[in-house]
Symmetry: C3
């Protein structure tokens, strides 16, 4: 009798304590709790490179948008509105720089949720200048930059915003401009053998002795860089009109990259920061892995990728992503701001890593629904 009382008491104790354990896995509820804890920790630890309107916040809040879309939980929308209000719905200041419009993805989303709240004039001004006026990267005045989106991260920063804005304006001229610039980046940085993007021209593999290489001699393809691209493709394809004339270009690129990304997943479910040289920094990195998980799970949910083949990939990845989260909500194992493979640690975090986690979770919640 005492024993069974004891057992019962211990059971109650554990049951009571359990909700604190954000790592308890295996249920949608637990996934939702983990995502909210990630949001809450990140909101309590604001961080950015140059300003709260910059690309780091842009990527983070893009994850918050998708989490709200999937769950309809007010905590996400409240965070988005609060951020937008505090930013006075401004973009970052450099109209020639794709990074500086990423934050507007969130403004456009909030605008669709509540009329008369969002001021879209800064977004409009930025896009009109960015897409239709020449600047230092398109007019030839910068000797090293010959195209607008000269680094692959840009394909996440601007195009998904442009798609949303084109939908709002019901004007394909934005999509056409986007396609022009996207194609330039593709032509410059996409490696058609590897089906991966070089981060920028420094990393374009030419097969000669001047190529940048990992210390072991292997080609350098950056995990987060390719994460930006394929996650951006999922965002673009999700909302681009089915009948848009260049849609298949994006769809084909997405499918081709997805096959390759699947192949590069490591045994623990995560990707290494140097995709073709996993041994360089032999631990999972969460920002790239989160973007990949999001992109692949999106493809399964849309019926674009084979469910039987890809579901084990994303489930393994999501389990590992969940394990990267600390008890208090912090998402660790995120490579710091950079432009090429560098190591991470259990404690390293950035807001865009939390964004990648939320993006992944927002599609994982839809699996098997």
């Amino acid at each position: 009798m005492i024993k069974s009382t004891l057992l019962f008491t211990v059971f109650l104790t554990l049951a009571f304590v359990a909700p604190h354990n954000s790592n308890a896995q295996g249920t949608k509820t637990s996934d939702q709790q983990a995502m909210i804890k990630a949001l809450e920790w990140q909101e309590a630890h604001p961080i950015y490179a140059m300003a709260p309107t910059d690309w780091t916040n842009g990527a983070y809040y893009t994850g918050v948008v998708q989490a709200h879309k999937t769950t309809n939980d007010e905590v996400y929308l409240a965070a988005l509105k609060n951020m937008g209000w505090q930013n006075d719905w401004q973009t970052a200041p450099r109209f020639y720089h794709a990074d500086d419009i990423a934050i507007a993805y969130s403004y456009l989303y909030v605008n669709g949720k509540r009329k008369d709240l969002v001021d879209l004039k800064p977004t409009e001004k930025f896009l009109d200048k960015h897409l239709f006026e020449s600047n230092q990267w398109t007019d030839g005045s910068d000797a090293e930059r010959s195209i607008l989106w000269w680094w692959c991260d840009a394909l996440f920063m601007a195009p998904p915003v442009i798609v949303e804005y084109a939908l709002l304006k019901k004007d394909d001229k934005y999509l056409d401009a986007m396609h022009k610039y996207y194609k330039q980046t593709y032509d410059l940085l996409y490696n058609k053998d590897e089906h991966l993007f070089a981060r920028d021209t420094r990393f374009v593999w030419k097969g000669n002795s001047e190529d940048l290489r990992e210390e072991n001699g292997k080609k350098i393809f950056w995990s987060r860089g390719n994460g930006w691209v394929i996650a951006g493709l999922a965002l673009i394809l999700n909302d681009m009109p089915e009948d848009y004339k260049h849609r298949n270009f994006y769809l084909d690129l997405y499918k081709e990259m997805a096959v390759k990304i699947k192949q590069l997943q490591q045994q623990d479910g995560l990707w290494r920061t140097s995709l073709l040289s996993p041994e360089s920094y032999d631990h999972g990195e969460v920002s790239g892995s989160g973007f990949f998980t999001f992109a692949l799970a999106w493809g399964i949910n849309k019926g674009i990728l084979d469910k039987v083949v890809y579901t084990p990939v994303v489930q393994k990845a999501w389990t590992a992503l969940r394990a990267s989260q600390h008890e208090d909500g912090r998402v660790g194992w995120v490579q710091n701001i950079g432009a090429s493979p560098e190591p991470a640690s259990a404690d390293s975090w950035q807001n865009f890593g939390t964004g990648a986690f939320l993006l992944a979770g927002s599609e994982m919640l839809k699996l098997e629904k």
Copy 2:
């Protein structure tokens, strides 16, 4: 021996875990902890309809003011000062709209706590325009709005601010103007049979086939709407000079409504969102219930309501309000922004719901002291 050690260990474990359980009830300490957790959760989740100066924050921070008055805990005053500073002590922008002055209740309170910190010019400008200049709702230019405070929520938003401002200025002209407008609202919306306010003229019961009704045919009297009124009355009466000529009007109205509100409490201690049709959405709703609990407990503490009769009412209500709070501090079961009865859920929250919780708690702490 082992058994007793085990029992002791389990006891220790539970004792240790206990402070995490915000729902542990029955003591003033536990109530204070629950209130601080509510504040802290809300501060970590800023939300508003249009701006941080709007009525939603106004109602929330009115609860924070009362919590500080009762407990003198620095966490409340710090939150008030921080909010005021971030808002630059501005009201919301529409001088004709009672909602847009609600936030000034907090500014006036902070001003009484710390000289030379608060800028009261925006409050002064608003009130002078609101009360003494004609506008679109009083000059006849809006065909549907013939009085300044044409919806019952307004009786919470503006009058308590006006009472505080009149005290500061030592000038009854503010009280006289308030009374003029308050009486107009009373004449337009108060149902002298039901002793409840219609939310606005759409809900005024005329006894004909054009009356808006619940699906079951019953009259529509909104819980939160009447919560705004009677909580506003408690705030007004608390600080209105004892010798003010129209004071008895407010006192009589308060007492009359209190009797009715008591009758409408449901078995679980909470009120339904449609007061006269509890079956429409048969679950407790926390914003209305919080305002009622605050108002009734205030009346007990002031000796206006019969202690023996009303104490069980508010204790039952407060127990249920406490149970609506999540482990992490979130106050749930709050109907979203609206203008008539709609359902809530365990997860639904808004800052004004947290405000209602704090208002209720601030008077419950004084009971039996």
Copy 3:
């Protein structure tokens, strides 16, 4: 079998719960966690006297700077950048008032961590006016204030900022001006018998019947006031060039005060708010104690103070400081804003108390490394 399972289960439960206990002591890891919890609680409870640019935040974020220097943990730097951005890198407004430049200590630190982010113009403008233009306290227009830094707190607020700015500008004129004003304060307020500073001229002991005294007749030397001075000396000496001509003045003063401060430590490891009359308010006070612990531990780590003699002092103090922290991270037992000894309580907190805690921790982490 059941028994051992039970024991194991209970063990697991306790092990699981343990990380919640911020008071678990004795390891660097535990100290780091306690510091991060202090930061996180303070960030979630912003407070200041007049503005987020004021001396209270200045002192708090000086603690955050030192915590980042020691741990290199991104959470500290993120908090500093966020604060600076929100403050638009402004000082408080009174260029004649040392309090109003304290916040710039953090701006200068962030500027050293990330180029092109911090706007140092407001700091530059303030210091040029503060040090090189006459004002109401130096031109004779204020009958009661004959020197720039007429209260001892000022020796924490401005001098460490000036040292950092002098290093940045590589210009000794800032150090020379600082020394001129520092020496005036020393001459006015330092008691060469007691080796302590009077808070201001009201408390300068003249040995006659008009001296302000504690109720028991003893001299009034304020703990936090002297904490400001000796913590300021540690900050000054840490970065002042080894070959600066007046360096020995600061070093000698530091050593002389350290001996006295050590003697005044009480049995529980903390200092009383009235240093020479511990019985006036016979409980530890955390802001003064935190500054003393920081200053003494710094001296040990720099090899200025005898390790064998002073290590037990700071270890005892740090253990007591850790015990003043609440489960949720709040640092209690902090005397409120004031200018002379007043009591504190387990619940009383201020941001500068958290700053003192972080300062102490940042040096304690270096001990015995």
